[in-house]
Amino acid sequence: MKFTLHIWRQENARAKGHFETYEIDNISADCSFLEMLDQLNEKLINDHIAHPVCFDNDCREGICGMCGLYINGRPHGNDDGVTTCQLHMRHFHDGDEIWVEPWRAKAFPVIKDLVVDRTAFDKIIQAGGYISATTGGVPDANNILVPKHKADQAMDAAACIGCGACVAACKNASAMLFVGAKVSHLALLPQGQPEAMDRVRKMVCKMDELGFGSCTNTYACEAECPKQIKRQNIARLNRQWIGQLFGRDRRE
């Protein structure tokens, strides 16, 4: 297959970026999007055309959350429920023009080319996205009973990989789905109750402080989430938030 690629190039965080156009040929339909970029880079290096394109990636099996490209106007491209590394070229047509951009959000500044700084997500988690269980001194695992449907719902929310597609997809660059997923995961479990009110308050305040936008319930985040995290998590986040405003535990 043959493609015309328009790729965002940006020297560093301070430089002005622009699109650069490259042609690439002989791409197998079974090759992944990142492997296609590998081949482009190989060509750029071997033919000394330009410096290779920088893009984040690591596990290449859809779980680490490191990769994330904005492809033809959609985070992680045009296949549903996959990350960029699991997107395959068979989802494109021979001769397609493909536009590749980094995540665009104030809270995710560009570092170089397609690489962005997502440390804001870590900071939100550090604000309270955990259960304080110091190593040792915890009860036997089976002393804490969790109803199966609660455990399953918690697992659904905990499947978030922190890639940032929800923020990139949102017109307001809101992080509500990311925060809602973590708040839900912990609020659904008995272990998460003691800190629940504090947790939601601290995480939401940190999210606002870091420059993420507000949620206007258009759910582009849910549509583009590679792990198909449900918007119900945003509703649960709101319920938890309102609960803590009135100083009341909100049991899920």
């Binding site: 492997e35 099996e61 680490c64 440390t119 969790v146």
Partner: protein, 673 residues
Amino acid sequence: MNLDSKIPEGPLSEKWTRYKASQKLVNPANKRKLDIIVVGTGLAGASAAASLGALGFHVDIFCIQDSPRRAHSIAAQGGINAAKNYQNDGDSVERLFKDTIKGGDYRAREANVYRLAEVSGSIIDQCVAQGVPFARDYSGLLDNRSFGGAQVSRTFYARGQTGQQLLLGAYGALSREIARGTVVLHERHEMMDLVVVPDKEGKPRARGIIARNLVTGELERYAAHAVVLATGGYGNIYYLSTNAMNSNGSAAWVCHRRGAAFANPCYVQIHPTCIPVHGDYQSKLTLMSESLRNDGRIWVPKKKEDAEAIRRGEKGPLDIAEEDRDYYLERRYPAFGNLVPRDVASRAAKERCDAGYGVGPTGLAVYLDFADAIKRLGRDVVEQKYGNLFQMYYKIVDADPYQVPMMIYPAIHYTMGGLWVDYELQTTIPGLFAAGEANFSDHGANRLGASALMQGLADGYFVLPYTLQNYLADQIYVGKIKAEGPEFDEAEANVRARLDGLMAIGKTSSRQDSETSRPQDGETTQGLEDFHSVDHYHKALGRVMWEYCGMARSKESLATAKEKIAELEAEFYQHVFIPGKAAEMNPELEKAYRLEDYFELARLIVDDATQREESCGGHFRVEHQTEDGETLRDDENFMFVAAWEYQGHDKPEVMYKEPLDYEYIQIVKRNYK
């Protein structure tokens, strides 16, 4: 070299208790004056840093990714073993201990493995308290499943994403300590060298690291009273593996260069169920969980002409009649069938493909068939159990495993070898500790499924917080360690020289004056076609290692490997082309730095495989096999850990032996028939 394993006295089941009762402690006021560096944020690194931070030590933690949550522990699918005996099926610490030793083909240290089994239950308690959403049954109690090499159900799991959930638990604990200020996180930083400083008595001690900021390219110095290495394995040396793209062996290797012994490098695990290679552009191999072998049946055609027709695309698997299928694992191993350990299943697949019965366009694949399971259990049940794996297979291969059998082939997965450590997880350099896959200690010559997560968390949550404290108790007298002095200068200069050396490759002498003298963008210089990217050489090295030092090794193949590695290395130093500058984000330079170390490590793997004139676990020497193609150990001559000492770039390493004494285990032939 002194290989004192420091195993405590006393009966096996009391060793750890006795150690903890007699170890030295650091009082709370002194803990905050002691600095620890932890490199790596996977299960071992994150859990160690979180636990040490919670105790009150000051910890600096480093990861190469943009966030600690991305470490490759996240990709583990199947589960984590623990001797909880919640199923009342006869499990116990002793049973888990024995299974692990046997699974490792009697090449692991008894005391370490026993301790691992002993603390396994506490790991599950800890993870549940952190909110890890393990699978549960309808009563709300924890659920278990079985894995290869065991006859009990002791594997705890969170769907097909157990590693992810455990890592997020440890990441949460780590994040809490970062918020409390006991741990400082350095993301997008790569450890480039270890700094070893002699103390007052002249004893060398690990005192810091040189790290490269991967965003700016600047070198930075960090000092501490102790360094913990939790940087994973070196499976990526084969280029195609189930490891992440950035997983690498360099941090461990620079420690080896500084004097830490490297143990059993030839023990590499090859996982039997991975999606086969489909093209030379391929960057990695994807694992299909071992749990699939609970219900899937592995087969190839009985007739060569059928296999050939399939390879030509004239026939499909559904065209092969039941009586023309060879379920070779069930045929060869009736007792364990499709659930034999990984090394056995991998070799059996290779044997069939080598004999000409392989399927798929390349002939390097076998079928994993769920038709029987679907018939027996119904599609719904199969979907509930394996839905996410089937979906993943479908997305990658574009074929529906509910309709046609999956195609699978073995791939490099895990490295049992690593830095030599004693009972305290301390390497041969005092003050340098190694945890998780980075050390060699618990899995012998083959790791059992669901044991990697157990070991990483055991080391980080329950071993290092004790043993590190024992080491640090003496260190309160030395005061704050500063990142200065001749040793820091030398280490930084060494890294700088290596980076500059790599960047300089390809410069002609007449064009050496400045950075811009390198072949420029769009410039056509004579001889440029000889230059290649780092990946070009990494792929070539991977092919050599896979071909000549992979699933089957012989004296001749290993000799060939050695020659080819040397040729490639020479070619690399002549013709690798690294664009850009050292002082900027430069992934090509990162890869080149890692590959440079891989060339040395590759030689050591081959040397280790050559000296080990026996077959055990993942190490299969074709000269040493039984008549029916099984591994043939030589306990008389090879029941030892091979620990290698670095002698310099061009010099062969020197091997030291740590004998393995089995006091409690009865050594038998591993038999899964």
